[in-house]
Amino acid sequence: MSGLTDLGVKAIRDGVAAGEFSAVEVAEAFNANVAAASALNAFIVATPEAALDAARATDARRAKGEALGAMGGVPIGMKDLFATKGVQTSAASHILEHFKPEYESTVSQKLWDAGAGMLGKLNLDQFAMGSSNETSYFGNVINPWRKSDSNAALAPGGSSGGSSAAVSARLCPAATGTDTGGSIRQPAAFTGISGIKPTYGRCSRWGIVAFASSLDQAGPMARDVTDCAIMLEAMVGFDPKDSTSLQMPVPQWEAGLSPNLKGKRVGVPREYRMDGMDEDVAKSWDQGIAWLKDAGAEIVDISLPHTRYALPAYYIVAPAEASSNLARYDGVRYGLRDLPEGAGLQDMYAATRAAGFGAEVKRRILIGTYVLSAGFYDAYYTQAQKVRTLISLDFKNAFESCDVILAPTAPTAAFALGENTEDPLAMYLNDVFAVPASLAGLPAMSVPAGLNRDGLPLGLQIIGNMFDEQGVLNAGLALEQAAGFSARPEKWW
């Protein structure tokens, strides 16, 4: 039944529960799509047996009349940044290439407990550092979308590029992502799917390979807003094993979904309208404003005055935390060891890390080491953390006069592989609209809004106040219903 792979999370969960098809049929259909899509390079490891095992368990529970769980019978892709017991967890790096955790991450365990099954581990930028999935040790992921007049390979966005490509190409109905500075939202926009990063602390970071701990948040990527709400609900919740986990009840986001924005105020930040902005991106933003107005919202002009400093602050804070977090890869406790003939302990560390990290990871560790080093700490790191406070205050002030914020997700549609790899700064600019919400720990999502002049998807971003995922999802749903986005990549793989 090939039609099964066109279904999303809700349709599969409800169809399995109603007995319209079995969970095993669903898993088999997606396993077949995964196996046939190696040209996309979305998966680092496929785990068809794990998907079937979970599906059999769901079918058995149904036969016994037991509850199937919020994700019952839904097979998903797992970004290869989540520790999965007994299954290689590489962070798309050479240094963790053969690492098989003895434990399961909290978020993935919650998804399995809710009845989901694992189709495999998804490719990403190495240690989630990148915006195009071109820093993976396991090769580039190819975006299933192509320009209408060209067969050139496009980037699926990053760092969750395997997740975005796989969901867009119907290799899985949904996938996990992680977002440190846009890594869920930008790839979602590049592939015409939805993705949400919740408030910092909603999802436990336990068992997620750490990049920048004060920014890292997991979230779902799926083909519509409802599926994101269902899956997010299954992923979040207090975890004593994460010291920054939020000790709050889990809201019922799916039940609370409503596209009616009557009485809601939508802020449009004037600083996001930048000189030389892509014409189609600007047009889709204007269209989004009109759609939300039609949904009953009042549109408010707002100011986020420190916007232009968000990216440079991020590129101090994130590398600083990364240089500290990645100190754990030492060739002693797990992962790769490179021991040159006659080398001592220090030489072994340096050789292991030279062999195990890719160029972008090394670059960020060096930047981070430099900005934290004696004599430079205050000028760089302390200053960046003060600017971060100001960016957070900008949002706090803005939310006095609005409920959610509407902005583009990314400055352009998907670009060609190799187009931005020469200049690290050009690549960093991809996250100019995504990073401010990350620095402030706010929930934010991207939903597909339409196609640009080249037939490529564009995303719109909703940013909400802290803990207001419901407001974000509802505005996202209003956009989704107005946009009626039904375009999908033509199958070439």
Binding site: K100, E102, Y103, T199, S214, L215, P240, K241, S243, T244, L246, Q247, H306, Y309, P312, A313, Y315, I316, S323, G331, V332, R333, Y334, G335, L336, R337, L339, G344, L345, Q346, M348, Y349, A350, A351, R353, A354, K362, R363, I365, L366, I367, Y370, S373, Y380, T382, Q383, A384, Q385, K386, V387, R388, T389, L390, S392, D423, P424, L425, A440, G441, M466
Partner: protein, 100 residues
Amino acid sequence: MSVDTETVARIAALARIKLGEGELEAMVPELNGILAWVEQLGEVDVTGIEPMTAVIPNTLRLRDDVIDADPLTGGGKRDDVLANAPAAEHGFFGVPKVIE
């Protein structure tokens, strides 16, 4: 502020990453490009502003003072801890000889 080859070599040594001659040379202009760009933060007036310490207001919890309160992260996991070690020996992590 900009970095020269010598400074990059020192940072790389601090970060315990061996850089080859060519790699070191290539890294200097790249790091300088990034550092010159982030220096625009210096123009922001931060008078009276505290550096951010918690992105969402939260207090660090203390766990109950109980041994193995969480069996997963408590003790008694030697074999699990060593399972991925590149050189586990006699129940320990093996390292190259460090006594000169």
